[in-house]
Symmetry: none
Subunit: 413 residues, 2 copies
């Protein structure tokens, strides 16, 4: 069954307001497995409105329109839908009574217009406004046009109460999803690694969403029973963990820094950081979370060599002999911040975010990350050659994930 | 001239994300007097995508499409537009070089696809992503298809830089604009202060754009000659400076942190920071700029009281008597970071970003900022009651603007 949405409103074409109704309806349709082909937004122009309805009704089975049900002359959605379906307009007595209660003696002729609905259509009660919704089915009940008011506080309750149950019965399918939040892989790299699964895209289907701290992967199976869906989903889950499991830090849509803070808080561990190339972005990712002060000591953003020496006690000789971007330096930074803070977990980062400052030997993107935990310093060298800002963010995420891995590995000891 | 927008993205039809691009573009088109007929959203289905483009290109003069330019097999917007216009795809050498710089040896075949553009089309440079935009005109230059990437942080700068001037020229009217980059005021506060100018909206018109570090205000006059426009613009400029001049830090679209770095670099001054509630966001704003190491010593993100004492030498008695969020503490933090770093300008910030941690006496949003410069410490108390993240960003911006004001005031001595 194919659906589409028509949003009627000149104010949306002018950019005065944003159309949130289409997203709301789309999400609900997706959840019940209905296929949405198009959103179309058009203004209150009669000719274009009619063309949009004609086209939508021809190519889709269910057309859901929002907006244009108000009392003014511009509001033409009901009349247009009636024309397409070949129906006359008639007064709906129930709604007329309701309007009389609402307006009492202040009823104007254009308010009266709101009691008109296409003959034979179902009136949908609007608890929060004066425009009722309308459900019009064709004689064979194979196609329908649904009209809902534009204001979300009117539209949403009506959609949930009348339209969702109507459509669920029509669709007859049930969907089950699992989510994976993944870091250390870019969106295209991830798709590349799961290409065979993505290419199939029948049942289950895979969707990827780029987020600031990684990728959210959604796997959705369609089955009559949950047990059957679980079999399908588990098969994909095993493959996904086998290929990119090192980057999976959650099985829901949650931020990496929140996961790390929870992990540390559960174990009563504190965290301190020394940053160079990430320039405060790791601290910013951590402190974005309310309550991070329970875990977070602070970050020494030692951007200059001077600061690395004075604040963290990095040796001048180390900087001169190996350079600021080296394993030797990052280890001294980690030891320095661990000592300065007495934190249980200490992280240090040094690298070249670019665009300047690279060399043949040490290219832009070269980065060292060290994590000091329980008297041991683990160090990794990474090389993301990307733009400055995304290098900073990816490196900060990499460091957070490294903390996660090291703490979890130690748990297993 | 009739325009329409096609938004390409299955994730929008699924309701996973909301299409904010169409509103942005609609608003801009409206401001320059262009008539927008439709928004259409369609997914990555080749047949439906093609149908949407065919229809739009037939009924409108300018078709602006966003999304579907990425590296994956689903991304078909360029190919579809090329087919409609009867053009072959060819490799764009400039973009290929750019991709090689970005990806180095990690280039995958699907990334290569991003260098293809329709033959004869104009490639639009994307500073914030790996997919370029495309402008395709018909031979008579009476119609055009414009393709822009879906992520707003890529789309918006490209629209503003390439498409807006192109469309302004097409619209046949002559527009002259002046820009003001403003901090310390929220978008609605700013609109409120300029309400009489905004309400008129005939000539000149005023548009506000929310940016991470403030508001970009554009005043646009429509006149035959530049001199006439200048008279109109100057009248507005005088009013704007009179009302919100304290927040204007640039007359072009440039970041606040870039302005501060230039200001300090020109005067051979170095900068060091001590942050608490901003949690690294001030450091991150500064280090976002390539070459910031010339000026920036570093930031001590002393999130815990322990760190404030150990790293900055804040007295235990001060914290106990006045609290971490107090003028006394911020002054000691500023003195501490100045002493630790020997930087010419030292900034310290402490405050309550929320949502927890506020009290009747010290509400969420209360913040103290101190700037040490030439032996003097200036301190300001501010109170932005807003969400955590935006409190962090606004406070960081406030501190940067305070540095600007103090250095410039000193210049005048």
């Amino acid at each position: 069954m194919h659906c589409e949405i028509i949003c009627v409103g000149t104010e949306i074409l002018l950019g005065d307001i944003i159309d949130t109704n289409s997203q709301y309806i789309s999400k609900r349709l997706n959840e019940i497995g209905l296929n949405l082909l198009y959103h179309t937004t058009t203004g209150d122009n009669p000719k274009r409105l009619k063309a949009a309805f004609e086209e939508a009704y021809e190519r889709s089975d269910i057309v859901i329109a929002t907006g244009g049900l108000g009392p003014t002359q511009d509001d033409l959605t009901k009349e247009t839908a009636a024309e397409i379906m070949g129906l006359e307009m008639e007064v709906n007595d129930e709604w007329m009574k309701n309007l009389e209660t609402i307006f009492k003696d202040r009823m104007t002729p254009n308010n009266l217009k709101q009691a008109d609905i296409p003959k034979g259509a179902k009136m949908l009660y609007n608890k929060n406004g004066t425009a009722p919704g309308v459900l019009i089915e064709n004689n064979e009940k194979t196609k329908a046009i649904i009209l809902l008011p534009g204001p979300p506080r009117e539209m949403i309750p009506m959609f949930d109460e009348y339209i969702l149950p109507y459509l669920m019965e029509k669709s007859g399918k049930t969907f089950y999803s699992r989510y994976y939040k993944i870091t250390n892989y870019g969106e295209s790299a991830l798709e590349h690694m799961l290409l065979d699964l993505v290419d199939k895209q029948s049942n289950p289907t895979i969707a990827t969403y780029a987020k600031e701290d990684g990728i959210l992967l959604r796997v959705t199976a369609n089955a009559e029973k949950k047990e059957d869906a679980d079999v399908l989903l588990q098969k994909y889950e095993d493959i996904i963990y086998q290929r990119v499991g090192d980057g999976i830090f959650a099985t829901e849509d949650v931020s990496l820094s929140r996961v790390i803070l929870n992990l540390l808080e559960e174990r009563n561990l504190t965290l301190a950081v020394a940053e160079s190339c990430t320039g405060g972005n790791l601290a910013a990712a951590i402190t974005e979370n309310p309550g991070s002060s329970k875990v977070f000591y602070g970050s020494m953003v030692t951007y200059s060599n001077e600061a690395k020496m004075r604040v963290l006690g990095v040796q001048k000789e180390t900087l001169e002999q190996f350079g600021a971007v080296s394993e030797e330096t990052v280890r001294e930074m980690a030891a320095g911040i661990a000592k300065l803070s007495d934190a249980d977990v200490a992280v240090a980062i040094t690298g070249i975010s670019g665009p300047e400052g690279g060399s043949e030997e040490k290219p832009v993107g070269l980065t060292y990350i060290a994590v000091a935990y329980k008297g041991q310093i683990s160090c990794r060298k990474i090389l993301y050659s990307t733009r400055r800002r995304s290098h900073q963010l990816r490196t900060a995420n990499y460091a957070l994930n490294m903390v996660r891995q090291i703490v979890l590995q130690d748990d297993e000891k």
